[in-house]
Symmetry: C2
Subunit: 192 residues, 2 copies
Amino acid sequence: MEVILSRKEQIEQTATALFKNRGFSATSMRDLANQLGIEAASIYSHIKSKEEILQRVCFRMANEFFEAIDQADVHTASASERLQAAITAHVQVLTKNTEASAVFLHEWRHLSEPHHAEFLALRNRYEEHFREIIREGIKAGEFKVPDEKFAVLTILSALNWIHTWYKPEGKMNAEEIAANLATMLLNGLKQT
Amino acid sequence: MEVILSRKEQIEQTATALFKNRGFSATSMRDLANQLGIEAASIYSHIKSKEEILQRVCFRMANEFFEAIDQADVHTASASERLQAAITAHVQVLTKNTEASAVFLHEWRHLSEPHHAEFLALRNRYEEHFREIIREGIKAGEFKVPDEKFAVLTILSALNWIHTWYKPEGKMNAEEIAANLATMLLNGLKQT
DNA sequence: TAGGCAACCTAACGTTCGTTAGCAAATTTT
DNA sequence: AAAATTTGCTAACGAACGTTAGGTTGCCTA
């Protein structure tokens, strides 16, 4: 089941892999061209600038993350269930596209204005979704948390290292990883 | 209580701040010189190369982290107590030097060989300290964890975002942060 | 007071960078 | 068959890069 990619998508995909491994700044257009088997100047038949690639990856992934948690959310469920669903959705996106996720998580700071500010606003809105769940959990007496912002950042931080090691052929699949992380974050390490 | 810094230390400190904010590759020697109020060439009276700065920061921080968890470790304590002590020590180092920590955590991949490999070996040895505690906790029936490596990386990942927001004048001090994180990781979010 | 050294300078090196201009071939669309 | 689009090329641009060479100044010490 090979998906046919346009040349532009090929460039984006190859660039994503390089951005993940060496970082945006340390990846030259000549590196990218070399990887594609063409000349650097040829890339400019398809894209306007190096940063355009970064922008496309960052905002496409932002969309993916939003769609995933929106679809997974069931407003009538308990806070614990909603949090577990959000964690699972987040992990699904992370594992389905580890390279783009790495770029999304680490390289966004090389965006120029106004994209940089726009990206941060999106990220904040995404985190707000989690904060809202935590708030609900606190109000319902389900969660005991010192600070909701603190809790959300800890949770997301605990999830966002997956891209560094996840391999589709590894011993844990995305669902198992999500389940283990949700259990750890909700119940802790301690035997109960 | 102003600490007097040698010029070399000043360069290292200023470079660390720039490396944190823009990344190693996106920071030029002319940027650094500008920040110091001198010419780029003048920096080479004090250091041998741009990478030397990165090496010094990375390996100095590695040392700091090792010393902190070694000092904090009490072998006779329970696994929970040992883990809490390790988390506290780790957070103390992170908060005491947020800029150098950011470089240590993110910029090490720009080290050239053999320093790159040496760094990874050190990091693995550091993580092994945590793995050992987790193993002990599992054996003693204290912890319930799907995979010890998985647990350690989740813990460290949850800790290592602190440098992005911690400010000494903030409402939580290092001890409170460490305590909150240890509670969250050991007991989970759920009210018990 | 002479020597040494720390600190910084100007000038420049060779290289790499992102990008543009202008053109050619192949493929697809009309 | 003609026209338009896609995909690539060579050549080159100006700018920025890390770094070196060689010199000047001012302070500290013998």
